[in-house]
Symmetry: C2
């Protein structure tokens, strides 16, 4: 129960998936220079769009079973989640290397660093979009994910859950299963609007379903260092939530937006020490380190 | 029934609100030079985040009644929608001018062009986020918006509906009430993912609830003219949906992102002829013209 982290914000396009994918990958890989240990990580894709799978070049039509089957399981029998539902690191690595080769057909060899070691993925699929309505009348509709993850929790150091842009049953399931929640906030004007709605929902889940849930932090994303708008939104968020905002800010960078088309997270594609193409990678490695520290302290 | 347009895409942050707001405002204002007549327009905010209201500087805590009350109305009695629920152009203008003055405290006078003439707003509020689950067990859950709008349809030339980033009951209500649907697609990799899911949903609504519904067009948004990623996503969308993609593309421009903090749509804030700050305005005026032409022809 200790290390389940939901990444949530009902505002669309604020970098929930980008943050969940890069955070999970960096925490799995670890970085000895930063004293960030390698950890066994499970990434859960609870968004019907399945953008987490795309981030690793995974083709959704080849998936055997997805998180949808887990949530809808009414048979009462124990499922073998690790065997039947999770994509192991070897399978993710194969998908990444194939997607990278497709993006760079003229390159003879896929670089060795295009791989993951300690990361498993629980993929979603298109049918998950029906789950909200289908679950709404079932028993234990809010805690189905929590029950499903309870059987495998001991096998992982971190479980990171990507959520869809809404406060419906899928996100409630994620908040019910989580110990922590990370909220990405885009440094743009509309983003301020939804913060109070989200904080209300978190309080409601804490009171009614999951008293252990805590806000781990708020991460500012797509920040444009020199933009008046960005600066004023960051100031506004810091004013209302000062202690909870992570020191690490993620800037709006083309390399981060391009990573999904190359089939791998930016923390894998680019070395954090590369001054030109590695700035996004560096920022997400720094965020992973900050997350790891906060989880230890609290 | 002829001119109800839903703006929908379950991918978050692809500029649904920005497109709905600027399109509604341009169609309401009209532009004699472009032979675009002024029209009486209603903008419906069906997103619990209420970003449409923010776009006009409307403070949500002062709202008397919202779209939520309309959808949840089980009393069977006719409501006086125009009197009790809609914000008229004078009220939107007051809110815009107040928000603009707050953003520019050192300016003595608010410019005259900060106003709207023919635009009404049906606002949403935070309670709408509970509507998905509350509606799911009520009679006629999919056509409540259609019924509510039926009483006022004759009073407007266009009704534009902004939707939340999901394919749940709120968006289904919008598609059931609409004659046309406009799909904004961000020129980024993840955006391609959700297109088939959305097209399936539109087909399902056409078959089961609303046979009149047609795709009016796909508009590419946040396009970066020189970016490899943008170009390849635009090519991909054109390959699969060629005839349906609007000729007008909306570029990623800072002035468009800054408009909500000034309390007015970019088509009002900036003249389309202003070469430096008016490019976004010009692109949305051109899109309004293209929408007007398509609706006439089909
Ligand atoms: N720091 C960044 N710089 C540039 N582009 C970014 C950055 N972070 C994310 N993006 C891009 O912005 C878009 C939105 O990000 P993403 O899909 O991760 O957000 P999301 O919150 O998961 O969206 P949704 O609400 O649809 O789930 C994507 O195209 C992504 O590649
Ligand atoms: N062409 C553009 N150039 C720059 N920024 C833009 C552009 N269009 C929209 N934006 C900004 O991008 C963000 C997302 O846009 P918007 O909120 O309109 O999308 P949406 O699809 O309505 O999001 P949601 O899924 O949350 O409803 C906003 O901060 C907006 O100001
Ligand atoms: Mg996402
Ligand atoms: Mg919106």
């Amino acid at each position: 129960y200790k290390m389940v982290i939901a990444v949530a914000n009902q505002k669309g396009g604020c970098a929930k998936t980008t943050t969940a994918v890069n955070l999970a990958t960096a925490l799995a890989e670890g970085d000895p220079r930063q004293r960030l240990p390698a950890r066994k990580v499970l990434l859960v894709d609870l968004d019907p769009q399945g953008n987490c799978s795309t981030s690793f070049g995974v083709e959704k039509r080849h998936l055997k079973r997805t998180v949808n089957d887990l949530l809808m399981n009414d048979s009462g029998e124990e499922m073998n989640v690790i065997e039947d539902f999770l994509l192991p690191p070897e399978q993710l690595t194969t998908a990444m290397r194939r997607a990278w080769a497709a993006e760079y057909p003229d390159k003879k060899k896929v670089p060795d660093h295009i791989k993951v070691n300690n990361l498993w993925l629980l993929p979603s699929d298109i049918h998950l979009s029906g789950a909200e309505i289908e679950l709404s009348t079932r028993i234990g509709r809010e805690t189905r994910l929590k029950e499903a993850l309870a059987t495998i929790e001991e096998d992982f150091d971190y479980i990171i859950i990507d959520t869809p842009p809404s406060l419906g049953l899928l996100t409630i399931n994620a908040l019910a299963a989580a110990r922590w929640v990370i909220v990405p906030v885009q440094a743009e004007f509309y983003a301020l609007e939804g913060m109070s709605l989200l904080m209300n929902s978190i309080k409601l889940v804490q009171r009614r379903i999951n008293p252990h849930l805590k806000l781990l932090g708020i991460v500012m994303t797509m920040v444009l260092a020199k933009s008046k708008l960005s600066i004023s939104v960051c100031n506004e968020v810091n004013k209302h939530f000062s202690r909870q905002v992570f020191k690490t800010m993620i800037q709006r960078l083309v390399k981060i937006a391009e990573a999904p088309s190359e089939g791998a997270p930016t923390v894998i594609l680019h070395s954090p020490n590369n001054k030109t193409s590695g700035r996004g990678s560096h920022q997400y490695w720094t965020l992973a380190k900050e997350v790891h520290q906060r989880v230890q302290i609290i």
